[in-house]
Amino acid sequence: MKKLSNIIKNNRQVAVAMVVLIAFACSDKFLEQPPKGSLSDSQVANAQGVEQVLIGAYSALRGSQRVPGSPGDWAQGFSNWVYGSVVGHESFKGSNSGDQSDINSLAAFTATATNSYLNSQWVSMYDGVGRANQVLKLLARVTDGSIADADVKRITAEARFLRGLYHFEAKIMWNMVPYVDETIDYSEKNYNLSNTEDIWPKILADFEYAYTNLPGTAPNIGRANKWAAGAMVGKTHLYMKNFAAALPVLTDVIQNGTNAGGVKYALSDNFRETFDAGNDNSSESVFAVQSSVNDGSGAAHANPDLVLNYPYLSSLPVNCCGFNQPSLDLANSYRTDALGLPLLDGTYNDAGKVLADEQWLTPTTPSSITPDAGNLDPRIDWTLGRTGVPFFDWGIYSGPPWVRQLSDGGPYMVKKYTFPKDQVGTYTDNSSWTAGYSAVNQYIIRFADVILMAAEAEVEAGSLTNALMYVNMIRARVSDPDTWVKISDDPTKNDWQAYADPTVASHNAGKYVIGLYPAFPNKDYARRAVHFERKLELAMEGHRFFDLVRWGETTTDNPNGNPVNLQAAINHNGVYVNLARGVTFQKGKNEYFPVPQNQIDLTQGSIKQNSSTGGGGN
């Protein structure tokens, strides 16, 4: 080493160079590589950052996409087409039986805690909760007064509304779920929460805070306002069976409510247009998932959870993938009597009353059928595709060729939330793998829902007269023949043009007979009428299973003695469609879904399985 030091002495330049290099190699600055393409904590803890993080919390309404092992976008979000419609047996999974087979066991009430759909939805909802809490956490860190007090209040209330909403969805899916507030943080390691407490009061508190603190008019039409919060307060009360408490707030929303743009709540004139992207955020929109297309996100906000739910015929503008086919029971429910009233006694599934389309499913399937000629509620033909009725401007729906596998999904196809051909490219996004990405908003609550909830509360805790008035409001809207599906009688105009233009010669696509209830003779009748009206009006909007569980109308011996119940629907559906065959709803076990095993394991058991489901069978 002596020699080496001599060398260094004798070669000053070398020595200097070496020192410089060593210093460089060890320099802390060299080892600090700032993250690129991202923002740090401090960059977002300000007025603008908080607002954008709040937008990020709204963004999760579409169903977060970041679930490892997720079957896809269709497993998560607020449309509830799987958990509300398919599991509620108002629709079949559709496609063919092996496709997205995890839905089969959900609908058969045999799903286990390892079902991939359940974890997807769980993670999606708690992602939303986490994003809402992030807003509150950041807000607390902005202490320089740069956010006006009114904005602090509004932002807090919006975040709490969203937090309540995401929890609400989890609550109705699993019942016993953990409540996560802004004190829970990864870095605090306090996230292994339990689910032993009924969180309805906490959800209610979030909505009530928002109801109290939010303005009626919001800076943007897509935001939660006072009245959206009020509607959720009412809905929460209904789920808690506090009908008396629900009544005043729902009444307040109906009488005084406006949408976030300040337009007074009212039913749209036209039932179909309620589900048209061109009519988003109308007077009927209380709170909706705002959908958009061609926005640079690659269709991320274009109802990614609904893209499988279109007819299958390859010549159609969208030919994927034949999921979410309305059930036989649902279609038959639209049968009306001579007065135009639904068959509340459940006889619509009886021979002679069922829709003609069921002939497709007889053992010797005919090559053609005569379209149904009986009395029908006109809403049927905006809700589902059936034989002989134009599917907007896509052509006349003709049953089997439009479905993927008749024996697995029946002859119908969902029509609500789909779009006419003339909206392709304007209200649809063609940048992804399939053409069913659309701009139509998904309602979380629409005004008709509020009215029917109010009707329900009136039946249980108020006046039957008011309930009657509310139900008839809903029915009156669809009594206008101009809003019914038309078939053109003018050879120069197609059916869609005939519908759009009343001056074109045309006739109704079905024998539509709809009438108002003359009276509700008793509470029991009123209750059945209100429940049935929800079935018809809100069909294919993801409410059905949750309503049935809430009402207890799951089995034929239900407490309300209602012949219209889940098991009755399954029994009829199962006559023809194999996925419903032999399916039995077990009371006390199948009301809620199993908590995902993955989440139980990850929290090291602090989250418990629903005792009722035992982890097997939702």
Partner: protein, 1081 residues
């Protein structure tokens, strides 16, 4: 003449003249003239043998006949060396004519092995190091150098898909990490994780550093092992070489997928429907509901009452609808007319695999030139590689240019550079584990023809056949105008070396890489499928990256009597990448699909997306390292290595890690008492212990980050076509993250026996990874992040034995060399995170097959144990309760005996990690002929043949293709040996929705990777042609594979180690026949 000093002089056509001229220059050193001839064992003259006067740089090379002439002092010693032969030293002893005969030696103890930052004599190495000869590097006509390691190095697993250009997964001594287990490659001192651009002909040496003793000098990045490559160089000896190598061959796709023919398919569809009590009406097979008939037409456009046109199946010849459809035939979306096709059934059956594949050429050429004078040497090579894939329109074309040179302006200073430029075009099909076009070959019904009557594509637009896409159409559309995947790359370094004082050499090297890639994909809108795309789309993207490394070392070597010391010290700075940027764009419906027109700008303004980003965050590393090797009398060896790395990937408190290693060896043969044991030529016992690190985590792991982008925005203003920007928390920082430490121990034995005819290398090793960097899943209540924080929690153990035996013998004039290796491996996850015992992966179509669990090997298969099919109703009643149980369906084992089949009854079914891998290289030499045979195999692994899910069940995709396995489907009469369950429509727990052992197959295989017959042209021919060397060969790659696996190929590539061995759309290894030629001037 100055120029001559720098470049030497070369005249390839008259090499002898050149040598004479060189000799003239060397002759300045006076002395006597020595001439003679060098021969091999058979007495044939050996061209190109290096001869130097020991202790000097004076020397020469033998000419084409093996003759040489040089000047040397009368008391000098001449050293004769040639690769593959034992180096021979011969004293001149005042003779003027010296003829020597060299003996071949595949394992040359004097052989110098390039290791970390240095090179060592093989006999001095006491750590786990394996080398690969340059002949092996180019043995197979494959593009990637790392593929050459497969089967030739004990302890290394290499898995390669058949897709041209696909990088292999190289796993050295098991799987240490749950993240990337890719080894670090060092090419001429420059680290990289991608060697796919290197021309195999440029490789001089390949060294695999397997244990810490060898690899921990690369500390931070060495945990998964290191492969050190050096590229070819010229020599300061005045020689000049020109080498031309080429091979040309054909790739054969092999047999495809065995599917039912159209009539069998129709029968099975009816059987499934009938078994389920469903109507057969409406199926595209005639009008008789009991006897299916394949129709003449499967898709005829028929006009409906509302004016629209609808594809209609089940039409027979003579139907007037056919004529109407022909008259309206149209497949264009641009003219506003409906899509109308007329598609005849292919009653003979379409072989989709055959249609989508081809016999494709494989060509490679390499033209190299090297030379040098006293003050400079150089190596230049131009390489071209072209492999057309067996699947239509995908290929690898690569151009390589290498230029390596070194200058010696002063005796003690060397300045040099290594530079590689490459350009490659490599359009590929989808991911190996995705439903790519190869997967479609399992799913397309044979009744569908490739094209319709008018020559347009046919497909599942024909009703009744479910949704697979026509793979011939999709591959054909991906032609070279519409599918570009190009990259350019410059890689290399420049260095200076100074011999400062005796024994001390200082070296500084600056190296790096520039990388640029561009991709274009134009997808025309489809019409022939059940589920068609809705637009013509154009995607374009590019990425640019640079990285650099600066390494400075001092190496000191000194012998004191019998004590020999080598010391190395160095420091290194790395920035990887130094700069990184990507841009991608996506647009719809350009006005014209003319490839000369389509650009992003020319796409529709609606729906256009443009993004730019930083694909790779900069990561810096500052390191100091040192190594001391000591040996006493070539008998006792000790080697100590230590490296300290500081990485930007970790927070300031845990930034640096120290990685020590110790090795020791005892060369027993050098002991006196061994001298009498003549059958042992050499015997060495060695052992080592050391630690290596891993920093393969996101360099931003320590930071809490937020991200924006349109996905996190929201259309808060209800515009329907735009989003307001939103921000979400994308990750939570883990400031406590630190180095993953990998502790290895290695005990080895090297022996050469029986007069050099047998070599044995035996190594026992264990590798423990602790504080393994891993991002455990976290409960959703903690928040849901794009990137879960990576923490040091998991641990894993790998144990194994690396055995290599080389045996050489002669039968008459036939010389045989057998070189075999076998590598047993045991891998086990020993810890994941506190309270977390597993995580699942590998979900395909709602079936999850893989569980990575404590106590199990990585990527273990998990599911129900299928014990048979339910025989009848009585069997169902007598068996444990199982959801969906019915005769002919899967019967699962009630593992916990509670009388009901629940998720608790799932078991670990098997593992994708082989119990051992093995390779055997046989070389048989007879006169001018030699035959090489190379076998490779894996034993004891399992494969999930997920392709069975698609076509062994009617209900998975009703109407799509069915496998010929279903001819043996369950029925009451044919129950016990049924290959598939009962044909039916129900999809439930007992049919096709659960991962279970029915999908699992043995993955063991033995493959003849290569058989090659070489002919070395005799000397007289070479003389006539004025060439030094001429060899021709014919070879067959992947000639046969012995396996029980029923899928296309048991070599299943996977992009991640946590989902190994699931076959979804695996690109099979293909058989290649080729002819080759090497010429040396």
């Amino acid at each position: 003449m100055k120029q001559d000093y720098l470049w030497g002089r070369w005249r390839p056509k008259w090499p002898l003249l050149f040598f004479v001229m060189m000799w003239g220059r060397v002759a300045l050193a006076q002395d006597t003239t020595v001439s003679g001839k060098v021969t091999d064992e058979t007495g044939a003259g050996m061209p190109g043998v290096n001869i130097v006067v020991k202790g000097t740089q004076n020397g020469t090379v033998t000419d084409a006949t093996g003759a040489y002439i040089l000047q040397a002092p009368a008391d000098a010693v001449l050293v004769f060396s040639f690769i593959g032969y034992k180096t021979h030293e011969e004293p001149v002893s005042a003779r003027s004519s010296i003829t020597v005969s060299l003996t071949s030696d595949l394992v040359n103890l004097e052989e110098v092995v390039v290791t970390g930052y240095a090179s060592e004599r093989k006999q001095d190495i006491v750590s786990a190091v394996s080398t690969l000869s340059s002949a092996n590097t180019v043995a197979l006509p494959v593009p990637n150098v790392e593929q050459a390691i497969q089967g030739r190095v004990a302890g290394v697993q290499v898995t390669t898909s058949g897709q041209p250009g696909a990088p292999s997964q190289v796993r050295i001594r098991g799987f240490g990490s749950l993240g990337s287990n890719a080894p670090l490659y060092i090419v001429d001192g420059v680290p990289t994780y991608d060697v796919s651009n290197i021309n195999p002909y440029d490789i001089e040496s390949t060294t695999v550093l397997k244990d810490a003793g060898a690899a921990s000098i690369y500390g931070a990045r060495a945990a998964a092992g290191v492969v050190v490559y050096t590229t070819r160089h010229g020599k300061y000896d005045g020689t000049t070489r020109i080498d031309f190598d080429m091979s040309t061959g054909l790739n054969f796709p092999g047999k495809g997928v065995s599917l039912l023919n159209p009539q069998q398919q129709a029968n099975k569809v009816y059987e499934a429907l009938r078994n389920s009590g469903a109507s057969t009406v409406g199926q595209p097979y005639g009008a008789d509901i009991n006897n299916p008939v394949v129709p003449d037409y499967i898709n005829v456009g028929v006009q409906q009452s509302d004016g629209s046109w609808k594809p209609t199946g089940n039409i027979f010849a003579g139907d007037p609808l056919i004529g109407l459809a022909r008259a309206h035939s149209n497949v264009s979306y641009d003219n506003g007319l409906p899509i109308v096709q007329t598609v005849m059934a292919n009653k003979a059956g379409t072989d989709w695999y055959k249609e989508m594949t081809r016999v494709a050429p494989v060509n490679r050429f390499s033209l190299g030139m090297s030379g040098g004078g006293e003050r400079a040497h150089y190596y230049a090579n131009l390489g071209y590689y072209d492999q057309q894939g067996i699947a239509l329109n995908q290929y690898l074309q690569r151009y390589n240019l290498r230029f390596n040179s070194e200058f010696k302006p002063f005796a003690k200073l060397r300045i040099g550079e290594n530079l590689q430029l490459s350009y490659k075009k490599n359009p590929t099909i989808g991911d190996q584990q995705s439903e790519n076009q190869l997967n479609a070959a399992y799913r397309m019904p044979t009744v569908i023809p490739v094209r319709d009557e008018a020559g347009n594509w046919a497909g599942t637009a024909a009703p009744g056949f479910n949704n697979p896409n026509n793979p011939v159409a999709s591959l054909t559309r991906l032609n070279k105008d519409y599918n570009n995947q190009n990259s350019s790359n410059a890689f290399g370094n420049a260095y200076a070396e100074l011999d400062l004082i005796k024994g001390l050499t200082l070296r500084s090297s600056f190296g790096g890489e520039l990388y640029y890639t561009y991709a274009l994909l134009y997808n025309p809108r489809t019409y022939e499928n059940a589920e068609n795309s809705s637009s013509n789309t154009l995607a374009e993207g590019y990425q640019y990256q640079t990285r650099w490394i600066w390494t400075n070392t001092a190496r000191y070597q000194r012998d004191f009597g019998a004590n020999s010391f080598t010391a190395l010290a160095g420091y290194e700075s790395i920035k990887d990448p130094s700069y990184s940027r990507s841009m991608t764009g996506f647009g719809l419906n350009p006005f014209s699909s003319d490839p000369n027109f389509i650009t992003l700008t020319n796409t529709s303004s609606t729906g256009r997306q443009v993004n730019s980003g930083i694909p790779n965050q900069s990561r810096t590393l500052a390191s100091v390292f040192g190594r001391v090797d000591y040996d006493f009398a070539d008998k006792y060896y000790i080697s100590v290595t230590v490296r300290r790395d500081a990485s930007s990937a970790f927070g300031v408190d845990n930034r640096s890690g120290v990685f020590p290693a110790f090795s020791a060896g005892w060369r027993i043969k050098s002991e006196n008492f061994m001298q009498a044991v003549t059958w042992i030529d050499d015997l060495k016992i060695r052992g080592g212990w050391g630690q290596m690190g891993n920093q393969n985590i996101s360099p931003t792991n320590q930071y809490t980050l937020y991200g924006g982008g349109p996905n996190n925005g929201y259309d808060i203003s209800g515009t329907n076509n735009s989003v307001t920007g939103g921000i979400i928390q994308t990750q939570v920082g883990n400031t406590l993250g630190k180095w993953e430490k990998n502790t290895t121990s290695n005990v080895g034995l090297d022996g050469t026996l029986f007069n050099g005819t047998m070599d044995i290398i035996l190594e026992f090793w264990q590798k423990n990874t602790e504080g393994l960097l891993y991002a455990p899943n976290i409960p959703a209540t903690a928040g849901v992040f794009t990137n879960n924080p990576v923490v040091n929690v998991a641990s894993m153990v790998n144990k194994g034995i690396d055995i290599q035996v080389i045996e050489r013998f002669k039968i008459g004039n036939v010389q045989v060399t057998a070189d075999g290796n076998i590598s047993p491996l045991k891998n086990q996850i020993t810890e994941l995170a506190p309270g977390i015992s597993y995580f699942d992966a590998g979900t395909f179509r709602n079936l999850t097959f893989v569980r990575n669990a404590v106590g199990q090997p990585i990527s273990s298969f998990f599911g129900y144990d299928m014990v048979g099919y339910f025989k009848d109703a009585a069997d169902v009643a007598a068996s444990p309760t199982q959801d969906g149980a019915a005769p002919g369906r899967f019967k699962f084992r009630d593992v916990n005996g509670d009388g009901v089949i629940t998720p608790e009854d799932r078991v670990f079914m098997g593992s994708a990690v082989p119990k051992f891998t093995y390779g055997l290289n046989l070389n048989v030499k007879y006169k001018a002929f030699s035959l090489d045979m190379f076998f490779y195999g894996k034993y004891g692994n399992k494969i999930i043949n997920f392709s069975k899910w698609y076509n062994n069940f009617y209900q998975s995709f009703s109407g799509a293709a069915l496998s010929s396995n279903t001819l043996d489907s369950w029925s009451a009469e044919h129950s016990d040996d049924a290959k598939t369950p009962i044909m039916e429509t129900a999809s439930n727990f007992s049919t096709n929705t659960q991962a279970n052992t029915w999908y699992m197959e043995p993955g063991s295989y033995l493959r003849m990777k290569n058989i090659q017959l070489n002919f070395q042209f005799p000397q007289n021919v070479l003389n006539t042609l004025h060439v030094k060397n001429l060899r021709a060969y014919v070879q067959a790659v992947n000639l046969f594979t012995i396996t029980k696996y029923t899928g296309k190929d048991p070599e299943i590539a996977s992009s991640v180690d946590t989902t190994l061995g699931v076959d979804v759309g695996n690109y099979p290894a293909t058989r290649i026949w080729s002819l080759g030629l090497n010429i040396g001037f």
